[in-house]
Symmetry: C2
Subunit: 371 residues, 2 copies
């Protein structure tokens, strides 16, 4: 049985590689026999987000428009939001099974199905958006993601970045690790595990119930995204301490593609599909930054009660130690996890040295100028 | 005469807007009558760079491959490097006149032809790469660039970012503004004007002669790009003080398109052209960051004589004051300059407030952790 799975895995890897080649190697494009037919392909996309969800939902709309326009109508994309398919966290299974051809979601939602999907959104104390984009495209990130998703008959492509996520909204100031102990906080995923490790009580609560949970004291704190999407949620009215980030310094969404379906497309439509995904992903990061800047200005003007804070060094030290301990445990359990963790941490070390003397040094010297 | 120019300008603006619409508005793509023909379009691109110039030249090759593959061969791109067309700084005129259909260069090279082209590469003490990308796509930057280039019958699209450029290689340490006075430095463009303002002697020297000029004392210092492209130049052997940046915190190259030619293309090929440009531009930024990280590691390992430094605050204060004075003079001379300068500075103020509590705060708290 294991052998068969291995064989299947190798086979799908070969298929992925063959079909991804147009994008990565330097050969000239092959004469396109399929271009002569004007066959139309309809692809169904399921997204995790509700209808018209800002930024995330704009990204799938942008992708649809790019793919349809570039293909001159030969690709038709039908987007179903969570309101329609009723399974926000069913995207992985939808695309794996072929019920949908495409998905738009977040890779780390699938860690219960395959632990190695965890690493392709972002990790605590890890790369910023730019650093991680370089890792995806030039540091081996895409290849590792291909390896993980090929096992499930899928391909994943970057799906848009939220930018550096804020650490969350707190009712009380955090002055030491003691203030985290017993703290009931909505913080899902790996960051939640770190919080548990240092004595907090992480929970996950459905989006629609978050405000009430915070208001009634079911939770004392929560993290959401950043000014781009937080302002509309109203958390600042009841939890005015807004902490800067550490746990998702550049969270990347994902597009998912069913490989069997992908392989039926002519090469030029494959290229259009992947390019439209990547371009709308890069543009989502611009939109996130723009909306965060805009909403932060509104916060500062209209909500002077919001207090922007950064955890003290002693708190970061303890969280960072817990992070390293949990990563070590993950690496010990699974060879591919180990490979991905090492790839990320080696790349982080190298590229952070550059970020330190480029953007970080620049921003710090700019803050220092007498204006 | 002036009236005719105004009419021509308005006409070309209308053409640009009409044709750019597929990319920006939210209408569904129109049925594509032209898709039925399989007509092939050959577009000639002239680039400022010599053959096989790393990163910059990779970007035009990537663009060519994307455009040709996505169009199934209906777009053919012929790239002529400076070795072929013999006029590195003739790109603007080549594309304006229609001698070439496309160009790849830097907008600020054309400030002698039209002062308002100056602002679309990057400016000293201004936005970082991410901040400026948000400005281009969501802050009105592309619209202003369209306004400037439509007057010349062209459209400009982002062409790839170098990342935060280093302040340059110096033979001696810079401890105060006095050390800049009389300093002979290769630093072209607006940054050179700032340097002149504070008493330095800026010059421009052809690339091939830079090393010898530095070696023989014709110049005392020079700026080039950053680790991504500096290492191969060997400057570190004779000018070991490597200063962090201030004058081009995110220099964006540009694609140029002859509008008359652009308007002959079917809508789907227009969409492919622009998307291939934008996607290869975003990927160039990833490549720049990757190469800088890689080469910085080599520098640290193999060239321990390199001393990475940051100008003291007193030097930045004086350079910043000179920058503001020169910008004020530019704004007073030209209404459109004033509009662009104000758009940039308003956007910078808003988005920098966000960068300060997101990436900058994150990077600083990370540097602080006990590892």
């Amino acid at each position: 049985m294991k052998k068969i799975i291995q064989l299947l895995t190798t086979a799908s890897l070969l298929i992925t590689t063959a079909n991804a080649n147009w994008f990565n190697n330097d050969d000239k494009p092959k004469p396109e026999s399929t271009i002569q037919n004007n066959k139309t392909y309809t692809l169904k996309l399921a997204e995790t987000w509700p209808s018209n969800y800002p930024i995330f939902g704009d990204t799938t709309k942008k992708f649809k428009k790019l793919a349809e326009t570039m293909s001159g109508g030969r690709l038709k994309i039908r987007i179903d939001s969570a309101n329609k398919h009723k399974a926000a966290f069913g995207i992985f299974d939808f695309v794996k099974s072929g019920q949908y051809d495409l998905g738009h979601s977040g890779s780390y939602y699938w860690k219960g199905k395959d632990i190695n999907t965890l690493f392709f959104t972002n990790m605590p104390f890890d790369m910023t958006t730019d650093e991680q984009h370089a890792w995806f495209e030039y540091g081996g990130g895409q290849e590792l993601m291909d390896k993980v998703y090929a096992k499930h008959g899928m391909k994943s492509i970057i799906g848009g970045n939220t930018g550096n996520q804020m650490g969350g909204w707190f009712k009380k100031e955090i002055n030491s690790v003691k203030d985290l102990q017993g703290l009931k906080m909505r913080i899902p995923g790996f960051a939640g595990e770190i919080m548990a490790e240092v004595g907090a009580k992480p929970t996950n609560i459905p989006t629609g119930e978050l405000y009430t949970a915070l208001d009634r004291g079911t939770i004392d704190a929560l993290e959401w995204v950043g000014p781009s999407l937080d302002l509309r949620m109203g958390f600042h009215k009841i939890a005015p301490y807004y902490y800067t980030g550490w746990h998702e310094p550049g969270a990347e969404l994902q597009f998912l593609i069913n490989l069997k379906k992908y392989n039926t497309l002519p090469k030029n439509l494959q290229a259009i599909l992947i390019s439209a995904m990547k371009l709308s992903a890069y543009q989502m990061y611009n939109q996130s930054e723009h909306e965060s800047a805009k909403n932060l200005a509104i916060m500062k003007k209209d909500y002077p009660n919001i207090k922007i804070k950064t955890f003290p060094k002693s708190v970061f030290n303890v969280l960072h130690k817990a992070n390293n301990k949990l990563l070590k445990e993950l690496a010990a359990k699974n060879t591919l996890s180990k490979e991905i963790i090492e790839s990320r941490s080696n790349y982080l070390k190298k590229i952070r040295a550059w970020t330190t003397i480029s953007d970080q040094s620049y921003l710090n010297s700019q803050s220092n100028i007498d204006k």
